[in-house]
Subunit: 174 residues, 2 copies
Amino acid sequence: MVFWKKLFSNSDTVATSETTEAGNGLLNSDSDNSDLPQIVFSTDRELDLYELEELCDRVGWARRPLKKVKKAINHSFLVVSMWEVKNKKRRLIGFARATSDHAFNATIWDVVVDPTFQGRGLGKAMMKYAITQLRSEDISNITLFADPQVIDFYQRLGFILDPEGIKGMFWYPD
Amino acid sequence: MVFWKKLFSNSDTVATSETTEAGNGLLNSDSDNSDLPQIVFSTDRELDLYELEELCDRVGWARRPLKKVKKAINHSFLVVSMWEVKNKKRRLIGFARATSDHAFNATIWDVVVDPTFQGRGLGKAMMKYAITQLRSEDISNITLFADPQVIDFYQRLGFILDPEGIKGMFWYPD
């Protein structure tokens, strides 16, 4: 666990046990062999916003003003990023963040995984990492708003749809 | 608008135009006549937590540790309270709060109106006040999780259920 520590400034940048659960040969977080690609997770919110924008471009999201993205990241309770680290270079391949009242509730937003890294369990690993981080802060009610095509994905992670008939609702300006 | 200004320390304690929309004789926010009951709204988060607990008791909510409630209020983006002011005394009759990333999204939690004040349009007025406050901060995506019995209430306020199939999901600890 030496190599990635050099790359990340934030001490809470850890490859937790969740990373190994997604193990498929990519994950070598306990190895110092920098020739093998590694997948690491971070809660460091000092992200290159252009790199994040590129990631979001790759999944076809509408672009948003970087100034507002920066503000949203700064005011999120949790920011999670996922990186491929290879030959001492790191590449952003996943992102998610959560708003929270720091006490009871958190809501996860902007979950994105690089399409070329999808289907390997990495999105699941990143979400488990996020849940672990929120649970470590004693947040017990973790919520999100899921697009129809990812409802199954979240259900497999233990998220419940409309529990007791509770419905997600949205208000938009006219 | 003199009377309630004396009662509230926070300068953003205002009875907005929304208050008058719920007018039914209770709302006299432009009057200095303190014999008539007035309904006023506030964003002041310096609330008496015991008074808030009493209000929540009246709607049958499970009690929560006040220390956590205080933390949640402190870390909410918006805290809205509704008061009946009569004979220079104020009484907490409504409450809501919202978490947010301060940029794109807000999620409204803990909406409560004193049962003896329900059915007069005051919950609607309080929610409109909350929406106005969030809109004034340029938040465009206002969300909430609605119990089945209040879905109609929020729909009348313009909230949309499961837009484009987006579903609210919850994760709880085992």
